[in-house]
């Protein structure tokens, strides 16, 4: 069983487009949407829910008794989550990281770590495969933890049913959601585009992928938008032993297809569709090998 995570560094380069079209072409597989705070895979895959579970996130410090305003907690908090402790103490849930230091130092024992529901995770059926996905309550924290949850779930199902491939739609950026999406996978596909912004972010996310010592594939979306920049990406891949599995031409039709909830690989005319079909041919041998 292999796992591949599709990431990009920069948002909007085409992760979900590529992932959803791969999901349509693959067999004996499960899809996981790890872009939990802006999940989009379900829009195209039209899932029917099988089960759901609450996601209770990491705890946050709360006041549960009478504060004597000694100020110790504010002194010790490294995240500036506590303020005003000499008059009316304020604990900022946005800054609190649930470390437990304030609980430890409080002489009156009136601070506690409390967990709350931060979202829901789902197992659903789609036309092509099982989809494991989640909804994070907007504004909630711990997306990395939620991603760990849904990945565990996907692996459980894969083990149970002897599934050969898990395709993971990753989050933009390089931080903890991306790290949780890459932990323990066999390979990653970085979808990038020939813009200065995307190239910069591609190189950063590639650094993260290297930490995991996993196989790196790249594809360049909208490659004909800027041939000089495309060349730069190609050179970088060559110099770093990264396999370039495809180049998708700029095509406004792709967005129109997506908006109509269609798969661009189903279009005979679309060159972008052809490129994605070819990319799948280039990568599927690796994905289904032992």
């Amino acid at each position: 069983m292999k796992q591949i995570t599709v990431i990009s560094g920069k948002g909007g380069t085409g992760k979900t487009t590529v992932t959803s079209n791969f999901v349509k072409m693959a067999e004996d597989h499960i899809a996981v949407d790890c872009d939990v705070d802006a999940a989009n895979l379900h829009i195209l895959l039209d899932p029917k829910k099988i089960s759901e579970e609450d996601f209770v996130g990491g705890p946050i410090a709360v006041l549960t008794g009478e504060c004597i305003n000694c100020g110790r907690c504010e002194e010790e908090c490294r995240f500036e989550a506590i303020s005003n402790s000499r008059s009316e103490i304020i604990i900022d849930p946005i800054r609190c990281e649930g470390c437990g230091v304030c609980i430890y130092v409080c002489p009156e024992d009136v601070l506690e770590l409390k967990s709350e529901k931060q979202g829901t995770n789902f197992v659903s059926r789609t036309e092509f495969c099982t989809l494991v996905h989640a909804r994070l309550i907007p504004g909630a924290e711990n997306s990395g933890l939620l991603i760990t949850r849904i990945r565990n779930k996907a692996e459980d199902i894969a083990n149970e049913k002897d599934i050969k491939l898990i395709i993971i739609d990753g989050a933009p950026g390089i931080g903890c959601p991306v790290i949780s999406s890459l932990n323990g996978v066999d390979a990653t596909l970085i979808v990038t585009e020939p813009t200065l912004s995307a190239i910069s972010d591609f190189k950063k996310v590639y650094e993260v992928a290297k930490i995991f010592d996993i196989k790196v594939f790249v594809c360049i979306n909208k490659y004909d938008l800027n041939q000089i920049n495309t060349r730069e990406i190609e050179d970088f891949c060559q110099n770093n032993d990264i396999e370039l599995i495809g180049k998708i031409p700029y095509d406004d039709e792709v967005s129109i297809f997506l908006s109509q909830k269609k798969f661009v690989i189903d279009s005979r005319e679309s060159k972008a569709g052809e490129a994605i079909r070819q990319m799948w041919e280039n990568i599927k041998g690796y994905l289904y090998s032992e």
Partner: protein, 279 residues
């Protein structure tokens, strides 16, 4: 006045809007809070004057002293410390730098050192932009530490434009928490609409006034426009979808260079926002 430019979906045009707005008004503070993937420097082309490293304090353990570190291991909520037999194992990537080890561990046997998690660069961008950019070190998860550091430089007496990271969770919330107004940039597709609604939920829970800019108008449908009109949400601007605009973007050239009429349009948007906040 602090204006945050955010979006649920990535790649909708936050940086385009934030940078072009800054270039249009000319005199402001610009903060790139998308510290995992900062891109504003390509468009604002700042002359960087200062770079400072952002650090967190992480523990190190004096072994061979017979000290028992099991309290540190059981205290840590992030699995960054493990004690097996006589061996203490520390995992720096998992450590948040909370200082707990120093507090609960054996006296004198736990020390701390400063570990770099990224940096903040500051400089000037033409015409008169006080520019700040955060940059997270790949492999670190301390996005919040970098953003928190940048918070200290926020100058509320000026116009501040914050380029936010995509999404709706903690790093985005951190970037909008201090704003007086948030511009939500979206694309006119089901994905743009889906993620716009999530962003709106966040802003409404924080009581932040907001407006929408629709970018790449023409690539999808008119559902976003209809949604905004039906919900009484102001559409501040609609930027058309043009391959040429994408080509300019790919080179780091601004929207204003493509079409200079956007300068006055962005100036108008800022004035409109100022008026809306006063109401």
């Amino acid at each position: 006045m602090i204006i945050s430019v955010a979006s649920g979906k990535g790649g909708t045009g936050k940086t385009t809007v934030a940078c072009n707005m800054a270039l249009s008004v000319g005199y402001c503070q610009f903060m790139d809070y998308d510290v995992e993937a900062p891109n504003s420097s390509f468009f604002l082309k700042p002359d960087i004057k200062h770079i400072h490293k952002v650090t967190i304090k992480q523990p190190y353990f004096l072994r061979g002293t017979g000290a028992d570190f099991s309290e540190c291991a059981s205290f840590c909520n992030y699995n960054a410390v493990a004690v097996v037999g006589d061996d203490v194992i520390f995992f720096p990537e998992l450590c948040h730098g909370c200082g707990g080890c120093l507090l609960v561990g054996p006296e004198g046997a736990v020390r701390e050192n400063d570990v770099v998690v990224g940096e903040v660069r500051n400089g000037v961008a033409s015409p008169s932009i006080d520019y700040y950019m955060g940059d997270l070190k790949p492999g670190s998860m301390r996005t919040i530490s970098i953003q928190g550091d940048m918070d200290k430089s926020l100058n509320r007496d000026e116009l501040v434009i914050i380029d936010c990271p995509p999404g709706t969770s903690c790093s985005m919330v951190f970037s909008v928490k201090d704003c007086d107004y948030c511009i939500l940039v979206t694309e006119p597709t089901p994905y743009g609409l889906n993620d716009l609604k999530l962003s709106i939920e966040v802003l409404e829970s924080m009581d932040k006034p907001f407006g929408v800019i629709i970018n790449r108008d023409g690539i999808g449908d008119d559902e976003v426009e209809k949604f905004c009109k039906n919900s009484g949400i102001k559409i501040l601007a609609m930027i058309p979808n043009k391959r040429e605009i994408a080509e300019y973007y790919s080179r780091g050239d601004s929207l204003i260079e493509y079409d200079s009429s956007w300068k006055s349009r962005f100036e108008e948007i800022v004035k409109e926002i100022e008026k809306d906040i006063r109401k």
